[in-house]
């Protein structure tokens, strides 16, 4: 296990060209120059310049270490950020799924409603072909009234006819009676005349 992680570390360090190799080299050079400076036999100015140079390299090392720490912090925070975005997107996906199923149900409902409307329309078309009920009722009423009026008139005419018939009947019967009486009278007159002539003749 240790060997694997070491391999990984070595691989990573070999991959990261730039600063990593530079830092290592710098620290080694610093150590070497420190030991050389401690054991130096040169002039104090040279020693001082070497000391300044070493301070400079030290500062550089500290600087690069600070930089890598900041980068590490930044990476951690980026990771957190990405985690948050990931959970957000997952939530969005589930809510979108829910919305989709809701919409599908809506579509089913709308299709049912549409079908009902179409059935209603189809029936309404057929019903429209038949005439309006109020109109037919009105027509029926008018016809009824007409019928009543006509039967009234018929009754009146019949009554008149009856009356006339009766009047004519009375008239004719009176005429006949008068004729009868006249004939009777004539006959009785003739009889009288014959009797008187027969009496005269004897």
């Amino acid at each position: 296990m240790g060997a694997v992680t070491d391999d990984e570390v070595i691989r990573k360090r070999l991959l990261i060209d730039g600063d990593g190799a530079g830092d290592d080299r710098r620290i080694n050079v610093l150590l070497k120059s420190f030991t050389k400076w401690c054991n130096s036999t040169g002039s104090p100015e040279e020693g001082f310049t070497q000391y300044q140079r070493m301070l400079g390299t030290l500062a550089q090392c500290e600087f690069s270490m600070g930089k890598t720490l900041l980068v590490y912090d930044m990476n951690l925070r980026e990771m957190e950020n990405y985690e948050k975005i990931y959970t957000d997107i997952e939530q969005n996906i589930t809510s979108a799924h829910d919305k989709i199923s809701e919409c599908k149900k809506e579509i089913q409902r709308a299709k049912r409603i549409r079908k009902n409307r179409q059935e209603y329309d189809a029936l309404a078309k057929v019903i429209q072909q038949h005439p309006d009920r109020h109109e037919t009722l009105k027509q029926l009423e008018a016809l009824d009234k007409e019928l009543q009026q006509l039967s009234h008139i018929k009754e009146n005419v019949e009554d008149k006819l009856e009356l006339r018939k009766k009047q004519f009947h009375v008239l004719l019967s009176t005429i006949q009676e008068l004729q009868q009486t006249l004939e009777n009278d004539e006959k009785s007159e003739n009889d009288d005349a014959q009797e008187s002539s027969m009496e005269n003749g004897e």
Binding site: Q108, K111, R112, R114, K115, Q118, E119, D121, A122, L123, K125, V126
Partner: protein
């Protein structure tokens, strides 16, 4: 099966399995082919998955009608009905569970059976065929309970209205008869060709497709496909489709209809033709909707070709299964 026979094949009937994963289709050579829909629709489908998993000869004559109950596939051939267990068919075992024939009056001719449907309230099978009569068979006992007589020519199609307990039949004589299943009497008789707006005398008076849904009925054939309101017995919409329709279904708020003509027609209840989707066979005989399963909710059509078109989205043909 040689290439010439392949060319002359017509698919007359289809039926989905109760689980919705398989499709059985019957052709004019008396064979039934079982296709696996789940493998044909899966993402890694190959050409092989569009061929049947099982093909066998079920009858001597053409298989005009197929119907699935909860466990069996019923097929109708020349005068006889066979039942095959779906579980056995999936295991590629082609032994029929039973074979029965209705009592025909004359034994000389064997009339073909054109339509079969099940009346769920009574658990009986209603059969109509070439002898102008409708036979009713009890599914549990296999006894032929009654015969409904009244048509003067052979029967093309049947439909059952469960709520009212009525059986509707349409035949070559142009009449749609409504029978009460208990008394066996013909309650109504609608002669579609006598209505001017529906009649198409140039095609004839026969009724080849009949389907009902609650108070509405679709019927067509020689006369144009028309939507009828059964309570008032009046035609409400006439569909301006040019060919003779052989099968129609209600689906959600539309009407799907197939017949002569190389397309599936989508129509609205008001009488307008919304769309006509082209498909491979030149003339279609059967249309089936797989409502048993949520995954394989497809529409399949078959006709005068050895290919059966599958529509996963009603607007276009996805692929074809091949006999």
């Amino acid at each position: 099966m040689g290439p010439v026979e392949h060319l002359h094949m017509s698919v007359f009937s289809q039926s989905f399995s109760p689980c919705g994963r398989f499709l059985a289709a019957g052709n004019n050579y008396g064979e039934i082919a079982v296709f696996s829909l789940s493998s044909a629709l899966s993402p890694d489908a190959t050409d092989l998955s569009q061929t049947p998993i099982l093909t066998f000869t079920a009858h001597e004559g053409p298989v005009f009608s197929l119907f699935s109950t909860d466990s069996h596939l019923l097929s109708a051939g020349n005068g006889e009905i066979s039942a095959w267990s779906w579980a056995e068919l999936i295991k590629r075992n082609t032994k029929a569970a039973w074979t029965r024939r209705p009592n025909y009056k004359s034994s000389l001719e064997i009339p073909e059976i054109n339509a079969m449907t099940v009346n769920p309230t009574e658990n009986s099978l209603v059969i109509g065929g070439g002898d102008n009569n409708i036979h009713i068979m009890d599914l549990e006992s296999g006894v032929f309970k009654s015969v409904l007589q009244g048509h003067t020519d052979y029967i093309h199609c049947l439909s059952v209205r469960e709520r009212e307990g009525e059986i509707l039949s349409g035949g070559e004589d142009g009449a749609v008869r409504i029978w009460d299943h208990r008394t066996g009497q013909s309650v109504h008789c609608i002669e579609v060709y006598k209505y001017e707006e529906c009649a198409r005398p140039q095609y004839g008076k026969w009724i080849s497709c009949l389907t009902t849904e609650s108070d509405w009925m679709l019927c067509g054939g020689g006369p144009s496909l028309s939507l009828w309101h059964l309570r008032s017995m009046s035609p409400t919409s006439i569909f301006p489709l040019s060919g003779c329709q052989r099968q129609a279904n209600f689906y959600q708020d539309m009407i799907l209809s197939v017949g002569e003509g190389q397309c599936v027609s989508h129509c609205l209840l008001g009488g307008e033709v919304k769309a006509q989707i082209p498909c491979t066979p030149h003339s279609l005989n059967t249309l089936a909707l797989n409502l048993n399963s949520t995954d394989n909710r497809v529409l399949t059509v078959g006709g005068s070709s050895h290919q059966i078109d599958v529509f996963t989205n009603l607007s276009y043909r996805t692929f074809s299964l091949s006999f």
